[in-house]
């Protein structure tokens, strides 16, 4: 692998992100919405809502009451339980949307963009191996997406602790769930989103077409969110470990699939008219 070539592709692609508003807006807006606005709103509502107002959500209250929250010391009030539930069970799936959506947008823009501007031909005609080309693009999609998630994680931590402190009198964020999410599940899922987007991009003619198809990658997150809200699947450390491992397995499968595209002549004929 030629590290200089990989870095040249990665840094070029990362520079181009800031020249494409459809991509960089996601890198700014999503972390703000998912990492700051929604957590802040959810905690403020959780803090101020009265139990009478929760009549319609008796099922949810029952569910929250049954969850054994650990590591926070002493019996928790229902408000504390509600906020703990929001922070540890409802926010993580929403949070996963940040790197996954961004990674998908960047990867699709990167691959289809090269086809649309006919620069892929220039890259293929250069002494650049296909493996280095893919590695550079993978890196260029992963770094900003994961960085946005990390930045958002920091902001979310500040907002959650600031708003929850009056109720708990100690820091509630991050729990072990969050640490595992950030270091294991999110990197794995981000990689899945990128690899999936690469495969979709190879078969798409335009950015819009690739974006629409690759968008299905967020469906598992929606499923996870519903699972959390209904109590069907509550994320525990073990479940997160399994999710990360399954995603890594999927990634290996996708990598093997993409490796078949490593033949320059086949890639050229399939991508360039």
């Amino acid at each position: 692998m030629n590290r200089k070539h990989v870095m040249a592709i990665a840094s070029k692609d990362m520079k181009l992100i800031w020249k494409s508003s459809k991509v960089w807006i996601g890198l700014i807006i999503l972390p703000l919405i998912m990492g700051v606005i929604i957590p802040a709103a959810a905690i403020l509502v959780g803090r101020s809502i009265s139990m009478e107002d929760m009549n319609g959500g008796m099922g949810l209250l029952k569910l929250i009451d049954e969850i054994p929250f650990e590591g926070v010391g002493g019996p928790l009030t229902i408000h504390q339980k509600l906020i703990s539930f929001i922070v540890n069970f409802m926010l993580p799936p929403l949070f996963m949307l940040i790197p996954v959506t961004n990674a998908m947008m960047i990867a699709v823009n990167s691959f289809v963009g090269e086809k649309e501007s006919r620069t892929l031909e220039s890259l293929m005609l250069a002494p650049l191996s296909i493996r280095d080309l893919f590695a550079g693009k993978l890196l260029a999609s992963f770094i900003p997406s994961y960085a946005a998630a990390l930045g958002s994680f920091l902001l979310c931590g500040i907002v959650v602790n600031l708003l929850a402190y009056p109720l708990f009198q100690h820091l509630v964020f991050p729990s072990m769930n969050w640490i595992v999410l950030m270091l294991w599940v999110i990197p794995a899922f981000t990689l899945t989103a990128i690899l999936f987007s690469v495969l979709v991009s190879a078969r798409s003619k335009s950015f819009q077409e690739a974006q629409q198809v690759a968008g299905v990658i967020v469906l598992p997150i929606v499923g996870l969110l519903i699972g959390q809200a209904t109590g069907v699947l509550l994320i525990s450390l073990a479940i997160m470990g399994i999710i990360g491992a399954v995603l890594m397995g999927v990634n290996l499968g996708l990598l093997a699939w993409i490796a078949k595209m490593n033949q320059r002549d086949q890639l050229f004929e399939s991508q360039i008219q």
Partner: protein, 300 residues
């Protein structure tokens, strides 16, 4: 430098090239001529190893493009029909990026090329706002960044104004003469090729119908000389020195002569009776030969 033998290529069941054979020696400038869809771009892609031939042999500097593609791509510069540049990046950023891929990050050379091709004033502007001609000039700068031994140029002067065409042709000629760069050039604008090419390959519907130098083609295809003479001569029988003529313009006569050897005798005869400002053979330039080669190929 380039050896192509019995090469065939199909794409999605359609035959693109059939039994294509030609050679180019080191330092030669070969013009690849043919209408759209003749297979010119396919030949350039095959030589670069970005697509593979169905059959036949290709060697570039002794290397097989299919197995040693990257070694070939290191010594080759390509100008594609679409410039292949990043529209969001500036001209300089584009060159800096490709310089990294070709391992030739010499900033002074980049600045020199930008100045040489008249792009230094626009080097910080995004390529998306460049005119077609400016993009083409930048594509040429990109192709020669690494000082390649071999240049493949697909319609390099498309979109250039007459001054730009002259500059590019002049630069290519200098590159070839001073550095011995071998050049394979495809172009529709034939009079430009005549200035720079040492030999030609004529391609039609995926097969080579003729090849040779201009003088070889002249000997093969020019059976009679069509001569335009700018003169004040007029005769009642429309004849001069025993050759009949037709009037094709004000003070312009067209003669049909059996060979070039008859020109001095004819001109001497006209000069003894009137003035002559110019005489030009009309059917031995590249354009006339191109159409004659294709016409005879269609007939056979």
């Amino acid at each position: 430098m380039i050896h192509v033998e019995e090469v065939a290529k199909s794409f999605q069941g359609k035959e693109i090239l059939r039994n294509v054979s030609f050679n180019a020696d080191r330092g030669e400038v070969v013009g690849l001529l043919g209408p759209n869809g003749a297979g010119k771009t396919t030949i350039i892609r095959l030589l670069n190893g970005v697509i593979s031939a169905d059959s036949g042999t290709i060697r570039v500097d002794g290397l097989d493009p299919h197995t040693n593609g990257n070694d070939i791509r290191k010594i080759v510069g390509v100008v594609t029909e679409s410039a292949g540049l990043y529209p969001e990046m500036s001209g300089r950023e584009n060159l800096l990026f490709f310089a990294k891929l070709y391992n030739c990050e010499d900033r002074s050379r980049i600045e020199w090329l930008l100045e040489l091709l008249g792009l230094d004033k626009y080097s910080d502007k995004p390529v998306g706002v460049y005119s077609t001609g400016m993009k083409k000039r930048l594509a040429i700068a990109k192709a020669v960044l690494h000082d390649p031994a071999l240049l493949f140029l697909d319609e390099p002067t498309n979109g250039l104004d007459p001054d730009g065409i002259q500059d590019v042709i002049g630069y290519l000629r200098t590159l070839n003469k001073e550095q011995g760069t071998t050049i394979l050039i495809c172009s529709h604008i034939l009079y430009q090729l005549e200035e720079v090419c040492s030999s030609y390959v004529f391609l039609e519907k995926g097969r080579i119908i003729e090849r040779g130098t201009l003088s070889e083609l002249d000997a093969r295809y020019v059976d009679e000389v069509i001569l335009h003479v700018d003169t004040g001569l007029r005769t009642s029988d429309n004849e001069a020195a025993g050759y009949s003529y037709t009037v094709v313009g004000e003070n312009k006569l067209q003669f049909r002569l059996p060979s070039k050897g008859h020109i001095p005798e004819l001109l001497r005869s006209i000069l003894s009776e009137s003035w002559v400002h110019s005489a030009q053979i009309m059917n031995n330039n590249l354009e006339a030969l191109y159409f004659e080669v294709r016409r005879r190929s269609d007939e056979s």
